[in-house]
Amino acid sequence: MIEKIKAALAQENIATWKIVEEKVSAQELFLIQAEVDMNRSKQVTHYHITVYADFEEDGQKYRGSANTTFSPAMTGEEICERIRTVYYAAGFVKNEWYPLTEQIVEKGERLKSALAAENVLPIVKQIFSAIYQAEGVQNHINATEIFVEKHAYRVMNSLGLDICFEQYKGEIEVVTHAESEEIAVEVDRMYQFADSRPEELQAQITAQMQETIWRLNAKRIESLKDIPVILSNQAVASFFDFYYAQAGAQLVYENISSAKIGESFQGQVQGDKLTMTLVPLLANSSQSASYDMDGTLLKDTRLYQDGKLLCYHGNRQYCSYLNVETTGLIPNIKVEAGSLSYAAMTATPHIELLVFSDFQANEVNGVIGGEIRLARYFDGKNYHEVTGMSMAADIPTIQENLYFSKEMIQYDNYYGPAHIYFPSLTIS
């Protein structure tokens, strides 16, 4: 197929191009309670093609591009026709010129994964067992979905780049429930990973079940004014998306982010200062890879140090526009631990936010919030499970006075503090 595409590109006299071949194989298991509702498997191949049209106007060089995806079933004639159409469209895309990735001599490293096995059915079974043998879940799981996928990529371009890499993606969705005579509640959570770690998974499901029980007992309260708030679970990872986005070369180029290299992004910090690193090969992240889809070889990149922005990150196009070093697109982030232990955070009255209906973190203006489905309020003597309020705040307003936990946790492509402590927020 690749030769067929290359031939079509040559036939259409297209000198500059990129081809990403993506082969996906998957085993999927869908369960209602503990019974298989359906089993599925999948083998597909996609060819993602980008064609570039170079032109000049008033002495200024431009590079237009357009992309399309082919299935392996396309005929030579269809490929030629589509490439012709896409190249024609690329001619109307008037973007500043930027270079493509050149041939790479250095080879990227690989992470080992049990999900790389030829037959992944035993892995699916292992995951099933980890979930259904977690503490307290017997007869408390409504539904589970298990996906084990292997993605094999080959990235080629007209400058002779030709690299291969694989990604392993495990994904499960588990719905735990609990009921009393009055009500029934559930907690629905996704887990993503790249390796088989049944003990870790089992511990996570056990914790999810505990939260489900807490939710069953949760009472509605009106509001809590000016109270210390602890953010926990996956919302913590979403919180840092704002910092990742604001340091992105594309947002800076588009003037949407005003983040400046060498300046403190966090303002006059009284609490913990943010130190964040992009890590291409983060163990157990389903997004780990040595290369991005431009074929850029990725390396560990320190983005923020003590609240100060050290560099922008992004693909070759936008880094070239800003005249900064191309980092490539690195989706994994590592945030350094903070100064407060979880024990210290929870020693005085506070509310810990555990489950949101949908925690939102706006990457442009830093607004965060959502409806709280489960929180634990500590009044100084006793814990109270509460529900039904909502939280809303602006990161730019609160970032000078927040604390990260010493305890670390991983949620797929995030590795960092397990909790964030805000000394004073209103929950209403």
Partner: protein, 474 residues
């Protein structure tokens, strides 16, 4: 003009029929869904342009068989039907046996019973985007960008997006031979503005079962979209509390979608994940409330002849005069519940499983005038456009994030803006508080994608008219 069926699917139909026939010798039920969706997304902004395939572009097949106990599926996208047959046999026989041997029980289903049916459908449109070409589309969007950037010094960027997708599908089983092709367009205006202290942006969407004629709606909406975004620069956070509210058709639609759209997806009944199952026949909303979901009720982005399981689309009456009447269902969930499938079995793509999903979901119009509704409020908020929503079918919690709210004081709309506005609460309380519903045109928006839990994004539309209610805002 008609959206013609994919030649690729037509040419491969005999091979698919042979695959179904061959597998039918060993399996009591066999079906194949073939998909071929083409389309393009054009993004034009002052800092650059991008042209790519539309998000829903796909070409491939999914074969489903009854394995004697339940159902197995295999998704593929090449034309090696011999290999595909081998793979679905493996999934239905060896893989299913592996799970049984490992002590994992298989849920029992009956064989799917179908009636003989051969039908075809193609949608109508005015201007096919392929016919008008990339240059014209980029030029039109660039003109919008230029106008938007010149509108105010505070506009720092304006992103315009036009996206079209032509969906072609065929469904072959031993008794069914169905084919359909329809084209929908979506458009977005996304201004970014900067004030002294902060940057803000908003998103205004346009959609329909139509072609590039949608651009006229985008042109007409430009100045209001930028005005609304500029207002965000002086927007304040709302003082949390319970208020009388008026929801515009977008927010009304979001409430319908989150409350009794997700709440009556009947695969959730099978999993005992939805409270709605126990409330069929009971009051769940005020007596003036009527709500529907269906592929055939209105013409929007999720209007089709048949769903992804070969069941004809319908127009389900979900709430009638405040009483919960029916849920929406995929084929297997209907079998499990002993009900009739409603044509709501949808897949994110041929690569994914089918679930009970919404199509076009809306509150039916009422008899009130919008101006009377506003005049009836002494202090409240007019909620306009939405950012996101989240369902909780098990507990009937609801979260809708409106893009902005305008304060209503003494029956008059003011320019005091609050943003964003979180509308949260208990579904029957919110729907039970509906006191006025406006007459006039039913307005639906099909610009976004709807997820099931945290994934499985499919095209849906939502809407209604203006609704007056009482809501907890923060």
């Amino acid at each position: 003009m008609k959206a013609e069926l994919s030649k690729y699917l037509q040419e491969n139909k005999p091979a698919l029929k042979k695959l179904v026939a061959d597998l039918s010798e060993d399996f009591q039920y066999v079906s194949v869904l073939g998909t071929d969706t083409k389309g393009t997304t054009y993004r034009v902004k002052s800092s650059g342009t991008a042209i790519s395939d539309s998000r829903t572009v796909e070409r491939g097949f999914v074969v489903r068989v009854f394995n004697g106990i339940g159902y197995s599926e295999y998704s593929f996208n090449d034309l090696d039907f011999v290999y595909a047959e081998k793979c679905i046999r493996k999934a239905a026989e060896k893989d299913a046996a592996f799970y049984r041997e490992q002590g994992i029980a298989i849920r029992e289903y009956n064989k799917i019973e179908e009636e003989e049916l051969t039908q075809s459908y193609t949608s109508e449109l005015q201007i096919h985007p392929e016919a008008i070409g990339a240059q014209k589309i980029v030029e039109e969007l660039a003109t919008l960008v230029a106008e938007g950037m010149a509108y105010s010094d505070q506009v720092i960027e304006l992103q315009t997006i036009y996206d079209w997708a032509q969906v072609s599908k065929i469904f072959i089983s031993t008794k069914r031979d169905l084919e359909q092709s329809y084209l929908y367009s979506t458009g977005y205006l996304i201004p970014y503005v900067r004030g002294e202290k902060s940057a803000q942006y908003s998103l205004k969407s346009f959609s329909g079962l139509k072609g590039f004629e949608l651009i006229e709606e985008m042109k007409n909406g430009l100045s209001k979209t930028i005005d609304n975004t500029l207002l965000l620069l002086k927007a304040k956070r709302i003082v949390p509390g319970e208020y009388e509210i008026i929801c515009d058709p977008n927010v009304s639609g979001l409430i319908a979608h989150e409350a009794f759209g997700h709440g009556v997806e009947m695969d959730m009944f099978v999993k005992k994940r939805a409270l709605g199952e126990k409330y069929v026949g009971q009051k769940v909303a005020s007596a003036i409330t009527n709500m529907r979901d269906g592929a055939t009720g209105v013409e929007e982005v999720s209007s089709y002849l048949f769903d992804d399981e070969g069941v004809l689309g319908g127009n389900t009456l979900i709430i009638e005069n405040g009483i919960l009447k029916n849920g929406i269902s995929d084929l297997l969930s209907a079998m499990a519940l002993g009900s009739k499938p409603t044509g709501n079995g949808k897949r994110e793509s041929f690569e994914r499983k089918a679930y009970s999903r919404m199509t076009n979901t809306y509150f039916e119009k009422g008899k009130d005038k919008l101006e009377d509704m506003i005049a009836s409020i002494s202090h409240g908020y007019f909620l306009e456009d939405f950012e996101s929503g989240m369902e909780d079918p098990k507990n009937w919690g609801i979260q809708c994030v409106a893009a902005r709210g305008y304060e209503i004081i003494d029956g008059k709309l003011t320019d005091h803006v609050v943003a964003p506005v979180y509308l949260t609460g208990y579904v029957p309380d919110l729907l039970g508080s509906f006191s006025m519903i406006s007459d006039g045109e039913l307005i639906l928006s099909g610009s976004g994608f709807c997820g099931k839990g945290h994934k499985e994004l499919v095209k849906t539309s939502t809407g209604g008219t203006y609704i007056k209610a009482i809501g907890r805002l923060s």
